[in-house]
């Protein structure tokens, strides 16, 4: 008789009750089935599978990222991030130029200044890293630099804060908005796709758990982004399973 288990890493709001993943139990194949079913359920919940391009003009805005994760083939309605209040203020009307409030991710994060007053706006950095809108994601070195810092922060608290200082310590205890997490996961999945480095996929899975565990609180733009993340995560896990000789 096959063991039936549930996926226990999204059954509560992980921002309120963080998961440490220490000494995680093992259940063999049924665990992977439970994980995949959990993600499929989340995708159904956010409305994936409706084959249209989402918001008008959204696909071209995401094209750089879609090209960077070619295995994703999103059948999800893509969002326009400008519609999210945490992002809209970062973008100018002319999106082809450097947005005035956005982070310059190519500079040393320890010397960030200017519009953010020496503080790193987490959402701004992530929007820039994933190349939204109409650009390619940041190059590997820049990605690595930022993802290392953000991952180290995330692994300690299992959440991200809205702003960090030059030493990547939270400026205050203000939590990052929920849209931060799918953006973070996307950046991690882009780096995993480029470098086949498992530490990025590992972090993306943990951030994915946070994303799924907070679905009920996400606004429409964030949910659409979540669908894109889950598709990309699904593709990365399936690819790793294939190369590891584990049929799914």
């Amino acid at each position: 008789m096959t063991e039936e288990i549930s996926y226990a890493y999204t059954d509560r709001n992980l921002l309120e009750e963080p998961e440490t993943y220490e000494y995680s139990e093992t259940h063999g194949r049924p665990f992977l089935d439970a994980y995949r079913e959990d993600r499929r359920r989340a995708l159904r919940e956010v409305g994936a599978g409706k084959r249209h391009d989402g918001e008008p003009g959204a696909r071209e805005r995401w094209q750089g990222l879609l090209d960077a994760v070619p295995g994703t083939h999103p059948d999800v309605p893509l969002p326009r991030l400008e519609q999210h209040p945490a992002v809209s203020q970062l973008l100018t009307r002319d999106e082809r130029t450097q947005p005035s409030g956005q982070a310059d991710v190519t500079s040393d994060p320890r010397s960030q200044s200017g519009a953010t007053g020496g503080k790193t706006e987490t959402v701004a950095v992530l929007v820039e890293l994933v190349g939204y809108p109409r650009r390619a994601p940041a190059d590997e070195t820049v990605m690595r630099d930022w993802l290392d810092r953000l991952s180290a922060r995330f692994e300690v608290k299992k959440q991200l804060f809205n702003r960090y200082n030059d030493e990547m310590r939270p400026v205050d205890e203000e939590p990052a908005p929920l849209v931060t997490y799918p953006l973070f996961a996307l950046a991690l999945l882009v780096s995993h796709e480029r470098e086949s480095n498992l530490r990025y996929l590992n972090a993306a899975l943990k951030v994915g758990d946070v994303v799924v565990s907070t679905l009920d609180d996400q606004r429409a733009t964030t949910r659409a982004l979540t669908a894109l993340v889950l598709r990309a995560e699904q593709a990365a896990v399936e690819s790793l399973a294939r190369s590891s000789g584990v049929p799914l």
């Binding site: 000494y23 259940h27 994980y35 692994e155």
Partner: protein
């Protein structure tokens, strides 16, 4: 009669890892002496965290590891050092930074201390410099695999397991390297956490202590602190993929 190795002491937590270290070293005639034993007299968070290890410790004599039919994890390190007449000291704490433990480490007349303390504890520079040099076996090839649960990452990336024995310093997994060895995947993936990981570490420690006994020194090579990767505790999906990939071998 239990054979010891001169100039080497051991610090052991009550864990499956310490039992396996002692068993392997005893069978190789390389038992450190004295042995400092951390005890679990109080219900600490660390103790709770290691509950899974203790649950799996068996009182059966049968080896839980197909690679080593002689492996005996049925008795605690305390029972074994007492039975073998090995000099030892027991502490009513699991904290290696406890003042009594620190003082005992400082009094040791040994060049090296085999460290098998509680997992997840970062040792401070004071403790590391108070007595012998701390020898630690990390279940990953350094500097490529720094951090936590690296055995799963290397299984997925290379279908192999690495162990590095190095001298600890205050930076995580960055101390000078004594030796690095590579091992095949475990025959039974269910043994990874509790038995196979500590066993390959113990075997590598045995190799190092044997070299020390025959050569009287342990040459090291420095690590490039900018090289390699820092891994965080493995997500259960990657852990299961790693285990199932071994199952398919």
């Amino acid at each position: 009669m239990t054979e010891t190795v001169d100039g080497v002491a051991m610090l052991a937590a009550p864990s499956a890892r310490s039992r396996i270290y002692f068993d392997v070293l005893e069978r190789h005639g390389l038992v450190p002496e004295p042995v400092l034993l951390l005890a679990d007299s109080e219900q600490t968070a660390e103790q709770q965290r290691r509950e899974s290890e203790r649950d799996a410790e068996t009182t059966e004599r049968a080896s839980p590891l197909p690679e080593d039919p002689q492996l005996d994890v049925s008795r605690s390190v305390h029972e074994r050092v007492a039975a073998a007449g090995i000099e030892h000291q027991q502490f009513s704490t699991l904290d290696p930074h406890d003042s009594q433990v620190r003082e005992a480490v400082g009094r040791l007349d040994a060049e090296y201390l085999v460290y098998s303390g509680p997992g997840g504890v970062i040792l401070d520079a004071d403790l590391l410099s108070t007595g012998p040099q701390f020898l630690h076996a990390h279940a990953g090839r350094l500097p490529d695999y720094r951090g936590s649960t690296t055995i799963y990452y290397s299984l997925l990336a290379e279908r192999a397991c690495g162990v590095t024995v190095f001298l600890m310093n205050e930076a995580i997994d960055e101390g000078p390297i004594v030796t690095t060895e590579t091992y095949p995947p475990p025959r039974d993936p269910d043994t990874i956490d509790l038995y196979y990981d500590p066993w390959i570490r113990a075997r590598t420690v045995a190799t190092v202590l044997d070299r020390y006994r025959s050569q009287g020194e342990l040459p090291t090579r420095p690590q490039d602190s900018d090289a390699g990767e820092m891994y965080y505790i493995v997500h259960p999906v990657l852990k299961h993929l790693a285990m199932l990939s071994v199952d398919g071998d």
